[in-house]
Each structure stands twice: as C-alpha cells, then as structure tokens.
Assembly symmetry: D2
Homo-oligomer: 333 residues x 4
Amino acid sequence: MDRGATGEEVERVVAAAERLGLKAHPIPGAQRTAVGITGNKGAVTTAVFEALPGVLEVIRVSHPYKLVSREFHPEDTIVSVGGVPVGGTRIVVIAGPCAVESLEQTVTIAREVKARGADLLRGGAFKPRTSPYAFQGLGEEGLRILAAARDATGLPVVTEVLDTAHVELVAAYADCLQIGARNMQNFELLKKAGKTGKPVLLKRGMSATLEEFLLAAEYVLAEGNPNVVLCERGIRTFSDFTRNTLDLSVVPAVERLSHLPIIVDPSHGTGRREKVVPMSRASIAAGADGIAVEVHNNPAEALSDGPQALTPGMFSELMSQIRPIAMAVGRTA
Amino acid sequence: MDRGATGEEVERVVAAAERLGLKAHPIPGAQRTAVGITGNKGAVTTAVFEALPGVLEVIRVSHPYKLVSREFHPEDTIVSVGGVPVGGTRIVVIAGPCAVESLEQTVTIAREVKARGADLLRGGAFKPRTSPYAFQGLGEEGLRILAAARDATGLPVVTEVLDTAHVELVAAYADCLQIGARNMQNFELLKKAGKTGKPVLLKRGMSATLEEFLLAAEYVLAEGNPNVVLCERGIRTFSDFTRNTLDLSVVPAVERLSHLPIIVDPSHGTGRREKVVPMSRASIAAGADGIAVEVHNNPAEALSDGPQALTPGMFSELMSQIRPIAMAVGRTA
Amino acid sequence: MDRGATGEEVERVVAAAERLGLKAHPIPGAQRTAVGITGNKGAVTTAVFEALPGVLEVIRVSHPYKLVSREFHPEDTIVSVGGVPVGGTRIVVIAGPCAVESLEQTVTIAREVKARGADLLRGGAFKPRTSPYAFQGLGEEGLRILAAARDATGLPVVTEVLDTAHVELVAAYADCLQIGARNMQNFELLKKAGKTGKPVLLKRGMSATLEEFLLAAEYVLAEGNPNVVLCERGIRTFSDFTRNTLDLSVVPAVERLSHLPIIVDPSHGTGRREKVVPMSRASIAAGADGIAVEVHNNPAEALSDGPQALTPGMFSELMSQIRPIAMAVGRTA
Amino acid sequence: MDRGATGEEVERVVAAAERLGLKAHPIPGAQRTAVGITGNKGAVTTAVFEALPGVLEVIRVSHPYKLVSREFHPEDTIVSVGGVPVGGTRIVVIAGPCAVESLEQTVTIAREVKARGADLLRGGAFKPRTSPYAFQGLGEEGLRILAAARDATGLPVVTEVLDTAHVELVAAYADCLQIGARNMQNFELLKKAGKTGKPVLLKRGMSATLEEFLLAAEYVLAEGNPNVVLCERGIRTFSDFTRNTLDLSVVPAVERLSHLPIIVDPSHGTGRREKVVPMSRASIAAGADGIAVEVHNNPAEALSDGPQALTPGMFSELMSQIRPIAMAVGRTA
C-alpha cells in the first residue's frame, strides 16, 4: 500500500480479495502496510488490485504457469520425435539447410549429416522473411521434399509452421512442428499446434522473458499436448558483434523451473558460422539436451542465411568437438 | 575484403556480382580492398557475397524497402479510417477499452470518449494474452458489440486481428484492422490483411528495428494496400520503471524515411496510467499524427490491463492537455 | 519461502530479521509461506535472507534511497546555477559546443546562443572519448576559455569533470560540475563532487535503471550537497536508428519519485541533428525542466560529435519551437 | 551520398578527405554515389564527413583499435599475474570473497580455494556499491589483509581499484589491478592503471559493445602496458531471470579479433549461485582462458553479494566439473 494509505483503503483491498475467493493478510509496517494474498489455485489478474486506491504495487510471488512447471511434474519429460528421444541422456543433433531449395540439395545434405551423426533433419518449407521480396520457401513442395529426404535417410523431420491455415498440412508431413521466434506469441498457432498432438519445437522469441517463454509452452500443454521441446536461439540486445545474443543461462534456468527439454540453436543465435562450433560446445556444457544447426552443401549459394551455415566438413568438426563435451557432462552424442 | 584477400578472391566477388546482373567496383586501399556493388533495382541478398572466401563483411548502403519509402513517394499519405483522415493536420485520438467486455460497457465508454473528442473507437474482441488462462476476448460477439457502439456514436472502429483465419470476419465488422506488436512479423497475417484493402494499424514489435517495422508495412503495401498507419507502442529494454520503453524518436525517424502516418500508444508504451498524459503530450510534440489510449469506465474491474486505463475524467484532462500542444506544433486536435 | 520450506526454516528467517533489529511477519498461504519484514529505517541488504535455506526470493517493497525521495521532501527543489534557477517555472536551455576548441570558437558560440535565448553555457574541457587516439580536450586551458566566455556573455558555465583528481580544478572555474553517463557510477567522483557543494548535473548512465540513477544522486546528497540536476541522455538498446534511445518516460517518473529537477539532452540522446528539434519539443511537453543541446558555429569541422551539433540558425529555430510548447504546459522559455 | 547529392557535393567530400591526407574514390551507382576513403593509418573521425551537405551516412570499414588487434599481433598474449600465466594452455581459476571482511575470513577462504585448486585470490578492498549506505569496503586495511592471505597461501592477488587516487596504493599490494564494469570507460583510471605496468583485469561494461571493450583495453596498451586480461561478466538486457545476461559469444569473438586473453565471471554474470557451475562449464567450453568466481565460507552472512557466492564445498564441485571440460577442449585446469 502507499505510505499514506488509509485503513479504509486497506479494507477495500481485503474485500476485493475475498470477492475473488482469496484470503488477504494485512501486515502493518513502520512506514506502510503490505497485504499478502493467498489461496489462488490458478493465475489471478493483478489488475483488480492495482486499480484500487492506495495500492502502490502488486508483486506476484508464485508462477503463473502450472503444466510446464517442475513443481507439478518433477521428472524430466522426454519427447519422442519420430522415435528419437529428446531430453534423455543422449544429446540430440538437429541439422539441415535453412531453407529447402530442391530435392537434390535436401537429400544430399540429409545424407551428409546423417553420415556424420545427426539425429533429426531440419529444413524450412515455409520461411518467415523480414522482406516481402525475399525467397519465401517452396511451401507444400518443400514438405514433400523433406518427406523424401526422410525416406532416403531415416531421419525424422522438423520443419516450421507459420500460419494456423497450414498446421494440418505441415503436421501431415513432419515429425515435429517448429514454431519460430517471431511466432512465439502467436497464440492461435500455439493452440492449433497443441491440438495436433505432434511434438512442437518452440523457439524463444527475440525479446521473450523466461516467464513468457514458459507460458507460450503452457499454451501447447493446455491443449493436452505434453510434447514440447524448448529452444534458445538468441535474444535481441544492444550487443552488435553477433546477430543475436545467445542467452545460455536460460538452459540451467529452464532445467530448474520446468520438466521440458531444452536445446540451443547457435546458428541463428550468433548468425556467424565461425561461432557455431564454440557455442555448440558451450551449449552442451551448460546442460542443453541438444543443438540445432544449419548445414548447407554450398553456403555461398544458399538462398537464405548462408553466412551462418556450416559445410559438411565443418559439421564433422562440430560433431567431433561436442562428443567429448557430452562425455564430460555424463552424456553421449 | 579481408586484409589478406588475394586478387583472385576479389575477382570472384566481382564475378558473383556480375552473375546477378550487378556491377562491382573494386577500391584498393592502403591495407585492404573494398568492393562497391551497384545496379540493384530491388533487394539483393548479402549472403551470396558473405559466403565467398576473402570477404570480411557485406555492408548494405541502400534501403531494402521501396513502397513505404519517402524516396519513392515524397508526399505524406493520409489514410481514411471510416471517413476520419489519419495523417493530415488534425491529430487523431483513438480511445476505448482494452477489451470489449459487454455491450453496455462498450457503448458507455464509446459515448464518454466521443463526447470528450475522440475520433475513433478502439477495443479488443480477440485478445492476445501471455497466459492461456487469461481472458481471451469475446470473439465475434465482441465484434458485434463494437459495431453496435459505432452505430450508437458514429465512431469508426479499430480492432485487433490475431489470426489469418479471422481476417475476413474482423474486416466485415471493423473500419481498421489492428495488427499487434506480437504479430508484427506474422507475415501471413500481414499479407492477408493487405489483401482486404482495409486500413491497417500496424504496431511496432517489442524488439523491432525501424527497418523491420517498415518492412512489415511493406508486406501490406506489396499486396496493393497503401492504407497503413504505423504505431509506436514501446520497445523492450532493461529499463524497468515502465512496462516498455516508449521510443518517441521513431516519430521523426519515420517521418523522414516514410510517407506513412505514425501514431503513438502511450498506454501500452508505459503501462502506467499516470504516465499516459505526459507521454501523450510528448508524442504530439514529437510530431505524431495521433495517439491511441485505453479508457475504461471502471478500471478497477477491467478484465485486462486495468492499471494503464484512464477513467473518462482523466481522458477529459488528456484532451484538454494535448490541444494546446497540437496548436503549438501547428495542428489541431 | 520455497514450497517445501520447513517450519524451522521459516523460524530461521524470523530470527535473522530479529538479529538485525527488524520485525518478521510470517504469512502462511495455501501452497507456501511468505514472510513480510518491516522496521528498517535505512536500506537493508537482502543477501542475509537470500542465503538462508528455504528462501525462494527476497522482494524489496520500499525504496533504498531517502534524501532524493519526494516522500521525504515533497516540494520541488530549485537548483541555482550561477544565479539561474533550474527546476522552476522557466524552462532552462543549456547550449554550447561539445568540446572547447579555442577561445574564439567558444566565445563566438557563447554569444550566438546567448543572443538567441540560452540560459547556461556548456562545453567540454575534459572529454571522455571511446578511443585513446581521439581528441581528449584542452584541459585547464579549456576551463580558462569557458571562464572567459562567461565573462564575455554573463552565461554561467556547465562543464564535465572526469576524475577525482580534477574536481577542485574544475570547481574553481565552473558554475556547475557535469558528471557524464560513463561516470554515473564512479562513486568516488560522486562523493568528491558532492563535497564541493557546487551544483552537479548528473547524466543517466547508458544502462542505468531509474533506481540506480536516483541512488547515484543520493551519493551527492549524502555529502550534504542538495544541488543536483538530473539529465536523461538516452539509454542503450537494440534500436539502431538513433545512437541511443531517449527514454522520455523517465521525466514523469522522476517527477513522481524525486524532488530534484530533470532536464533532457536530445543531442547525445539521438546522435542526429535532425532529431534534436522534435525531441526537444517532446522533452518539454513531457515535463522536463530544461534541455541541453550542442551548438557549433561550424559543425562540419567540429573536433567531436559534429553530426549532432546544431548551427546557430538551427538553434534559433529550436528556441522558436520550444517556446509555444513551454507555454502549452504552463511554463516559459 | 544522398540520392540527390550533386557532383559539387561529391567534390567537397573528396576535397575534405584530401585535406586530411586521405584518398577518396567516388563510385557512381544506379541511384546514388558512394565514396570510398582509404589511406588512414590511425583512426579518423567520421564527423568531418557526416557534417558535409549531401552525405547520407559514413560507414567505418576498418577497426579503430590497433595494439589490441590480432591483425597487428597474431600470437596469443600470455599475461603473467604474480607468476601465474593467464592465456596459455592451463585454465586459470580466480576465487575468493566478493568483499574482504576480516583477516580471518580472507585467510580462511584463501586456504580453502587454494586447497581445491584455485590459481589466484580475488577479494574487494574498495567496493563499488550502488547505494551510498552499503558497505564500501575496508580500503587499505583490506589490501593489507589480501597481502597477508597471499603470504599465507602463495596465491597472487587480484583486487579492484576504483579511483585514480588509489592506483599507486593498490598497485603496491596487488599482483593485478581489476577495473570493474562500472569503470570500463573511466578513461583516466585506465591510463593510470596502464602506467603502473601491472597486469590489469578489465571487466566489460554492462552496456559495452565489443568495440568499446577493446578500445578500453587499447587505453591501457597505449600506455605501454601489454598485460591486459579481458573479462566478460554479463551485459544488461531485458532478460530478468539472471542479474545480467552472460554473453559467452564474446569469447570466440575476442579470440578472433584480439591477442589478449579473456576470462569469464559467472558469479556476477548470473547473480545466482546455482547457475555458477553450469555457466563455468559453458565458459571453458566456449574457449575462455579462465573463470573468476566468488567463494565465501558463510554466504548467509556475507557483507555483499551473498546469493552468488559458492561455499567451499560447491567450489570443489565446480573444480571437479570444469576439469573434464578443460580436457575436452585440449586444456588443463
């Protein structure tokens, strides 16, 4: 309460809490009175209290999410993506081109990464592009190509869905629906992806707090779909030597608050090929359950995001460098 | 080029440019060679060059947008929203509740703000909410209520559309489609809103650069719809005394780069009622074409965002304070 | 407390509070217990409690500053800088070159700005420069030039002090000591500037929260010097179309929390000359007590920060534009 | 140049470059002319050009620093701190209390960390504190205690210097002068620390770009002192689950641009004890040359920063976890 709040104003806060079925506990202090409010089973809007006269600030003490919370589900969740477990002892490596460009390109890259130890194939058929004049992806043709690459290699497929109108289409081809950073708070998309029951790879938004990230996952779980893999891909800050700032501390933070697996995308996170290998090592060392990297057989001619794609040779080097790190943290890769 | 780049590497950059129909101009310096590239009519991907050996950095000198640019359309655009011109001499005031809660609430507020000088009615029927457990809006029922409030007051209606699946529905009721900050880079939604031809109020994303903001508008214009009103609503920074940091410098920046009108939303921008009036004054003084504010007849019981809503009395005060500022900058309100 | 905290752990928190002479109020809730702590007259370190077993989080409810707080000093403070009141009804305009370059340049500019309505002269004799190879200022020679410009025009002088070793020297010449953004948390400098009793113009650090800003001022007041003028000059964010992001909402926020006057520096805040006039208008409209702008008689040859300096002609235009805004908010300029 | 820049305006840019002894290379494009400028041996101010009519933007292509640059000094620098090499194959661990509180506390902790494998002792005698009412450190008495702890354990001492007035005093006791994040751009302090010739541990400022960080180090090297160890300790962002956002990508970025060693401080970087061990692992995996961590024998009663301090037991765990990571990247710890 404000320093000058009257007893009557305190009473009105207590009454407001009781109207909501909660209990209010006034705590008189030397200079002002605080009111503790308890008894809420779900999330309570703070607005009811903030709008009352004499109220200085409403401070939330418990978390607004439930289903994603480790408090309510203490054991680690392991998500099966086309038979590949994400979240267990084994580090998962997701690799492939930024965009699906052609059948030949995609199958070639899929074989290259499979041979070098990748677990899942990634590739964009629907591409979110900052400019309307940039290549927007092959659409359904791209999905067919990804399915063909899966047939050729056995690698399950992760691909992005941009719009509720495409959820069923993408789910018909993919083993895992990716929801990109720009759509992390596209709530209709989260709900519809949740309804499919398919695994969802949810990327953290560029300016998402940890609480917003977990609440976005809560949208999927609230539809009865527990198969969410979180993915850190860098946040937007003033720091300008990388495209985004990879916020690796989120890995142990998620591990503490949630039972969901979390992987890291160091390609988008740094935007620079030469930082992908060291930041992949760091991700695994921080405790991530896997990494997602872009690999292209010809980065110089890639239709999108060439500068962050690894060549197959660099991907070999990446695999050989993360294996000892995985062992050092008691895992395999 | 890198300091140690060979002549052959420079040649390869020149050849790559020529393959794209561009001209390359090598400029040898004391320590390294730069290559200027000209001749591009549209946007060129920098990836082609960044991936070549010997290339240190690709620096873009011209803008990737065209249709929104003042270079290509020097005169100010005036967007008509249900007959109300946005972008002309008169400052436009958009007011209404955060969420449409009931017919009575909405019509009451609409009458209050109309009587005090508002030009357009705002109110959310589809609400983007961080938590899946928060009130998500009345949906089509909310749209019908907004239409009734328009009938009752004559105020054209601005309301948010969250999903491509609802664009036609919302367009059937609203005079202007709002695309919220979380959807600024929901490119499918931008395209579909563009196709309706209806005015679009496009809010800046929480971590959007000015270039991304203008490119999002370019998506709408590229569909043949020139009726875009930009809206600054605060960006996400470390600064924690307001919910977002209102970046008012974007107003003169947009005015310089683009012909589109720009308004400011100081309610979401600050998240605090007591800052709405001073920041509204500042917005008009900075050159904004209008403001959008939340007004509620009973903020203490508002179903969302109560702490930032003005009462009708505060809205009167706001109007009386922005009028002299508008006059001071040669406009009316 | 943690959800699983034991009664014994709660007792230990209560005991820790009592050892510090405070009172603890346990509030048992449905799922966890909170403990309210009251009775602190000054600031209490939260670390004592955070380190105890079973403690989930320590949330500070009251402010850690006192002397700068409006709670303890409700009336506005008016700081006299060489006889010019800062914080009263009249808007104060501080103008001058970024760096003092020569006697002729400084006196010329001082006369130009005086003739057009400036109240105080600014100019750097000691310059903080990002690069060791950039012009570092004329030092004491620059101070003598500023004093001569004051003699020539009657304008009191504001100039920056960079180091405790120079505080007495600068105080011997200047009417007001400026502490720059990079030194906002140079606590020894704050203390020593406080001891001089001279007015201090304290610029907000590039990444300073409002609380840190006010605590930096508290360092000066704690030395018995109440003459502090706060100055917003832009914060560092991802937003890249201005050099810094001018956070104008801090103006009403400071006005609410503190009795100290606050001005705005739109030259450094935006880094671009063409944004100085609109953002000066916006600053006054937001409620600022003044502005500080860079003026140079020949910006093209300025030794530092040319692109943000106004010509004398632009400064005339600025003055003619802020006067009606000042009147619109009930002030004069 | 601007799209509408005249030939005469281009000529004026060329002439300005020639007056500075540089060469200008106009490159006419389809829509506008660019001018490449070469021949600068040191840093050139861009302001001269930005202020000329017709100039749209000045883009810097080469780096403004020299001495810290790997281009000019390709081999890794190894800094000897009291005989301990920083920057070689062996990972360096700096450990100790946040603040020196007493002889007994400091010697106890020094012995604990020495026994568990620390290489250097850290501890603050002069403490930069946000509030003037917080414990400011023991000053010279603290320095004497650190020296005694060195005598007792053989661990060289790293301690912070806050003010130019204390540089000689601190240098008389310490093996390495720490310059804290808040003072990264206290240029007088950098110069004076440089002049001592002592190793300098330079922490990155909370909002420092990589270029500013390297230029701050350049200040020390420009005084003839090549013994600089860089330290990443977290940047300030919107992300609120840690106190700062540890920007580990800076490690490979520094490694590429500079020959100086870089370590990471995960205690301040995260502000939370439970994140120190995983982020230490991640730092070493990213390629850091060492870590600096806070250890306290009784964190619950530490006079500052208790929540981020490790107990000696946790420090043992840390050492046992980073050793296999060091081995995995071909180093020892």
